[in-house]
């Protein structure tokens, strides 16, 4: 498989289905693991890095991960392709931007990815659509077991799985749920959510994880601690709190509908109208407007658009996706025009579509 083939497909986690998929976009678990016989990457020179990469490359492509898999040598990829994989949520920004031997293995369905030589030797990620953490855990734990039959992990009886950064030691797990919370943002109730989460030591991050801005009203809720709780306990903590946030968001949406239906309908329709007719539009504005449209579809204020289409638009209007679709590199102004053109085409009524 080549990267360009992904342009026409959709990661399984973007189907817009699954439990509470109107608000929970995806559930994700990642595990940090290191090989016992090598130093961590901070103390690995080029030859050691390459050896780690070769070792893990050999093993990960041999695992039965469910369906077709691909392995990419990140060092050999062009910048645009690395950015494409970041937008796709298949690799982290850190892996895209670092240096030396490193790679990623992922399934065609895009629900499993294994990053080699990120901050740790190995980062395993499983991604599901909707609110499905137990299924993610079963799957990732199975993959972890399969790998452990082949390699020896750095492990300490008292401290658990040893990681380069002590903030990940123990379980090495990060459990996160990507939520779309436009009504809580609109009413500024979101601050209360942040404060409550902070008290129980859960972290809130933007769409692309650590250090990223919240775009399009998307927030990732995840565990901060990794030591002293079992994986199940950490999972339970997130599983207990997320339903409260879901019902809070739903309650505020219903209150908005009840008390200011007209204003909300107006906001949603204007967003939809702009996306359908703009001639030049930035990535930020697109995210912002698509967020309103997504809520509008979920509330029945827009009836000629499906959630999977909206999810596609979020993905395909990002810079690297646009350029891969156009098969050329575009500067910012050209991207804004290309984005607007793509949106007009995808959102045109069936009878208006020239490509139908």
């Amino acid at each position: 498989m080549e990267l360009k083939d992904l342009i026409d497909t959709r990661g399984e986690w973007m189907r817009g289905e699954g439990p509470d998929a109107d608000i929970v976009i995806s559930s994700r678990i990642r595990l940090a693991r290191n090989l016992a016989q090598f130093p961590f990457l901070t103390r690995a020179d080029d030859s050691v890095r390459s050896e780690i990469e070769r070792t893990l490359h050999r093993h990960v492509v041999d695992l039965s991960l469910g369906g077709q898999i691909s392995y990419f040598d990140i060092n050999q990829l062009e910048g645009i392709d690395r950015q494409f994989l970041v937008e796709r949520q298949l690799i982290s920004r850190e892996l895209a931007e670092s240096h030396g031997s490193r790679g990623v293995c992922f399934t065609r369905r895009e629900n499993v990815s294994l990053m080699v030589n990120e901050e740790d030797h190995l980062r395993i990620q499983v991604l599901h659509c909707g609110f499905e953490l137990d299924e993610c855990w079963q799957e990732i734990s199975r993959i972890d077991d399969l790998l452990e039959e082949r390699v020896t992990y750095a492990f300490d009886e008292e401290l658990g799985y040893l990681t380069a950064c002590p903030t990940n030691v123990g379980t090495g797990i990060r459990v996160s749920v990507l939520m779309h919370l436009p009504a809580l943002v609109l009413t500024k109730e979101i601050q209360k959510v942040f404060q409550a989460l902070q008290k129980i030591s859960l972290a809130v991050r933007g769409l692309f994880g650590e250090g990223s801005q919240a775009m399009g009203d998307f927030y990732q809720i995840s565990n901060q601690i990794t030591l002293g709780n079992s994986e199940e306990q950490l999972l339970r903590k997130i599983k207990d709190v997320v339903p409260n946030i879901i019902s809070y968001e739903r309650k505020v949406r219903q209150a908005l509908i009840k008390e200011s239906r007209q204003a909300l309908h107006d906001k949603v329709s204007r967003a939809y109208g702009t996306l359908k007719s703009a001639q030049s539009i930035s990535s930020e504005e697109t995210m912002h407007l698509l967020s309103s449209v997504r809520m509008g579809v979920n509330l029945g204020l827009i009836d000629d658009l499906e959630i999977p289409t909206v999810n596609d638009l979020f993905m395909h209007t990002q810079p690297a996706h646009l350029q891969k679709m156009r098969k050329t590199s575009l500067d910012s102004a050209d991207r804004n025009a290309a984005r607007a053109s793509y949106l007009r085409q995808r959102l045109a009524l069936p009878q208006d579509r020239t490509d139908a």
């Binding site: 961590f40 103390r43 452990e148 492990f155 300490d156 008292e158 401290l159 799985y161 950064c165």
Partner: protein, 176 residues
């Protein structure tokens, strides 16, 4: 949690080393910005987990020398290097710097004992020790939740495992 310098909500939680002792500082957005601009203040990475454990440069010469002398025999990273970059050099660092790391881990995680998954290939006695850690943690939680029947069951299991008599003892596959 409130900011240590004003009454706003603290959004940044920093652990600084003062005379080799970790000290927690909790700051709001605004005070954090001021804190970062102070000469000789902490060098923290942006938002990363590593930021939690980076050290301040406000240490005396003797402390710095002491940190410099603390070296992991396996990968030769000094404790000072670790504190300035936030990443350890190898698995053995966790043993070499154990005394220094434990208070740090306590600070970050509120705990210093792993009680999650562990490699199936670990030796039998490790399996048992691990199982005991896990059971004791479950027991602590059961008591906190006032689930006394569960607590009693766990206590029996722990006792059984310690004396090698329990039917509930783990029988993990360690043939590999």
């Amino acid at each position: 949690m409130k900011c240590n310098r004003c009454s706003k909500m603290a959004t940044h939680h920093i652990t600084e080393l003062v005379k080799s002792e970790p000290h927690e500082v909790h700051l709001c957005e605004e005070c954090f910005a001021n804190f970062m601009q102070q000469p000789g203040g902490s060098e923290l990475t942006s938002g990363g987990g590593g930021g939690l454990i980076k050290t301040s440069s406000g240490l005396g010469e003797s402390e710095l020398e002491a940190l410099e002398k603390l070296v992991c025999p396996t990968c030769k990273i000094t404790y000072r290097e670790f504190r300035s970059q936030g990443r350890l050099g190898c698995a053995h660092c966790y043993t070499a710097f154990r005394d220094e790391l434990l208070p740090l881990l306590e600070n970050i995680h509120g705990d210093t004992h792993h009680c999650g998954k562990f490699p199936k290939r670990a030796p039998d006695d490790s399996q048992k020790r691990y199982q005991l850690i896990k059971l004791r943690n479950d027991l602590r939680l059961a008591i906190a939740e006032e689930s006394y029947e569960e607590a009693a069951r766990l206590r029996d299991q722990i006792h059984g495992l310690e004396h090698g008599t329990s039917a509930d003892a783990p029988s993990r596959d360690t043939a590999e």
